[in-house]
């Protein structure tokens, strides 16, 4: 029988707990969330009827700080999925070494079936139901599937009204000008490249002149490409993108390095990169999977999950030194077994794409000070935080002689356990 999402993350935790030889007490504390709230949110709809929405908020663990995690609006959201994601947030915040715990929430709704006014009433209604259990020192939600920065602004406004004071720190992902932080659009992609840089340094490889191949051309992929070129002085020799017109993916490669701005400029009305213009500019057009087999130093899967499988892992070039998981779950367990035995240095997703949650933490800090940093200051601090997180995981991997993915989870769990011990919970 297939395991549910929460059962899967519990199993993953159990394996890490065995590796760390955790006490039964610690396991009991961490296998299940500390608090789960089931909400019922009454909302007056535009037609005058009353609809009561179901919602959940799970605070998995707050030993290291307030719970942190997004709010999902989805018609098929379940408590099981929210529990799983809350636990993963505990580990993600701990790996990044930000003083936050793990949380997640959901409301069972398809947000696009609501009018703008109904969305606002639902967001405010959510806060009205849960305001006593959230706050900058308690639980700090953020946008997630189906929620947006506008919704965060409404929620912040509602909370501020209820508590009687301006409280931007109650929630992150807010728009700029109402407590949002500069630098967040590029944070995840930039963070990926910081992790790559540190991995290259660890391997004794000069980042300047290194080559990369990237799957995807969305937000994270684009900022990863730009940062790889501008920050590392490296070359991105290939990106793979989906062509809506041709209904297939293509890899666009150029030996001297692709130009992400140029590729954006030649995207036509169908969202397809103009292949003729690309060819005229010296690009080679190959099939969509070609990115994976490029002779490069760094591979960055930044599109969807499950692309590096037990089969496709063998297409990776022997030249590849670093695999940076910018997407969530791009490597299957079967492929992981192969990679763990190879010479390829894997930066696991939980570490590699944590730039976004680190930037959320920065937003909270700025809200607390009521002083806002420039994008450059945010990036400088993000660079320091990502580098530090990387080296902590690396040290664990070396000390315990384990694979980087295992090390990331081990350090995360270990940090949470230490916090619980320090606080006298264990």
């Amino acid at each position: 029988m297939e395991l549910s999402p929460f059962a899967l993350v519990q199993k993953q935790f159990d394996e890490v707990a065995d590796q760390l030889d955790l006490s039964q007490e610690a396991r009991e504390m961490l296998r299940w969330p500390l608090m789960e709230i089931h909400l019922r949110i009454p909302v007056r709809m535009d037609d005058g009827s009353l609809h009561v929405f179901d919602g959940f908020r799970v605070q998995h663990n707050n030993a290291r700080g307030p719970a942190k995690g997004g709010i999902r609006f989805h018609p098929a959201e379940t408590l099981d999925t929210v529990r799983a994601l809350a636990m993963l947030m505990t580990w993600k915040c701990a790996v990044a070494d930000i003083p936050l715990g793990g949380g997640k929430g959901g409301v069972v709704v398809d947000p696009t079936t609501l009018s703008v006014n109904e969305k606002e009433r639902l967001c405010r209604g959510w806060v009205q139901q849960i305001w006593k259990n959230i706050g900058s020192k308690v639980d700090v939600p953020a946008p997630d599937v189906g929620t947006t920065s506008q919704m965060m602004a409404w929620m912040m406004d509602e909370y501020s009204g209820i508590v009687g004071r301006y409280s931007p720190g109650v929630i992150t992902g807010k728009p700029l000008g109402v407590g949002g932080s500069e630098g967040r659009t590029s944070a995840t992609g930039f963070g990926v490249v910081v992790a790559v840089r540190e991995a290259l340094k660890h391997l004794g490889i000069e980042p300047r002149g290194c080559t990369a191949s990237i799957q995807g051309f969305g937000n994270v992929a684009q900022y990863a490409a730009i940062s790889f070129i501008e920050v590392l002085n490296g070359k991105v020799v290939a990106v793979s993108c989906w062509s809506p017109r041709d209904r297939r993916a293509y890899t666009l490669s150029k030996e001297n390095g692709i130009d992400p701005w140029f590729l954006r400029s030649i995207t036509d009305e169908h969202g397809t990169i103009d292949k003729e213009k690309a060819i005229l500019a010296g690009y080679v057009i190959e099939n969509g999977d070609a990115w994976l087999s490029k002779d490069v130093d760094v591979l960055i899967p930044a599109a969807i999950e499950g692309v590096i499988t037990g089969e496709t892992v063998h297409q990776i070039s022997e030249q590849v030194k670093v695999l940076a998981e910018a997407a969530n779950g791009p490597t299957t367990p079967e492929a992981d077994l192969v990679l763990a035995k190879s010479d390829i240095f894997v930066i696991p997703d939980i570490l590699c794409n944590s730039g976004g949650v680190i930037c959320s933490y920065f937003e909270s800090i700025q809200n607390e000070m009521n002083y806002y940093w420039s994008a450059e200051e945010v990036n400088a601090r993000l660079m320091q935080k990502m580098s530090s997180a990387f080296y902590s995981v690396l040290e664990m991997a070396r000390k315990r002689n384990v694979y980087m993915r295992n090390a990331a989870y081990m350090i995360a769990v270990d940090r949470v356990v230490k916090a619980m011990e320090a606080r006298g919970w264990l």
Partner: protein, 179 residues
């Protein structure tokens, strides 16, 4: 899939399908925005109102899903999804209302056919032209794209390629049509 079947499926398409889809999406957006009439939707689009565009895209997606299901009886379910959720959840959200421009969908079919792929191509081209005519000063080429990934039973079962997204707990597509 024979040429005759391909032509038969393609022959079900005419521009009236597109007109109906746009009409539905305008009505859907009018209702959701609380406007008095569709002309307000068009005006809002022409002022670059992304809230309205989001509703337009969803309304179009609903009708596209219904249409695909009606012309190809191997279509089992159709989903709409946000590609950026594969990488960028946990806080790194842009200021705009939604990440990706265009309409991104997954069609789960019993059997992939060239006919369905051809139909989506024709649908996408025609829809982009009509949608673009509504006008938006902020729109770029990507705003009018229709991306439909076709996945079959094996891909969903083995979580291969876009089949992995159907039950992904990161991306969380929304089912908008089921047979």
């Amino acid at each position: 899939m024979s040429m005759e079947v391909t032509e038969e499926i393609l022959s079900t398409f005419d521009t009236a399908n597109i007109e109906n889809m746009i009409e539905y999406a305008l009505g859907f957006s009018t209702q959701k925005m609380g406007y008095a009439g569709q002309e307000q939707v068009v005006e809002a689009l022409q002022h670059g109102n992304c809230s309205v565009c989001e509703y337009m895209r969803y309304g179009l997606a609903q009708k596209i899903a219904e249409y695909l299901g009606s012309v190809d009886n191997t279509v089992k379910a159709v989903y709409i999804y946000e590609p950026e959720y594969a990488t960028a959840v946990d806080g790194a959200m842009p200021d705009e209302l939604s990440f990706s421009r265009g309409i991104h969908m997954i069609a789960w079919v019993g059997r992939k056919t060239a006919a369905l792929l051809s139909l989506i191509d024709v649908l996408g081209s025609n829809l982009a032209q009509k949608f673009k005519q509504l006008g938006c000063p902020k729109a770029n080429a990507l705003c009018y794209q229709l991306v439909v990934h076709i996945v079959d039973d094996e891909e969903v079962l083995t979580r291969t390629g876009y089949g992995a997204l159907v039950d992904s707990f990161y991306v969380r597509p929304i089912e908008i049509w089921r047979r």
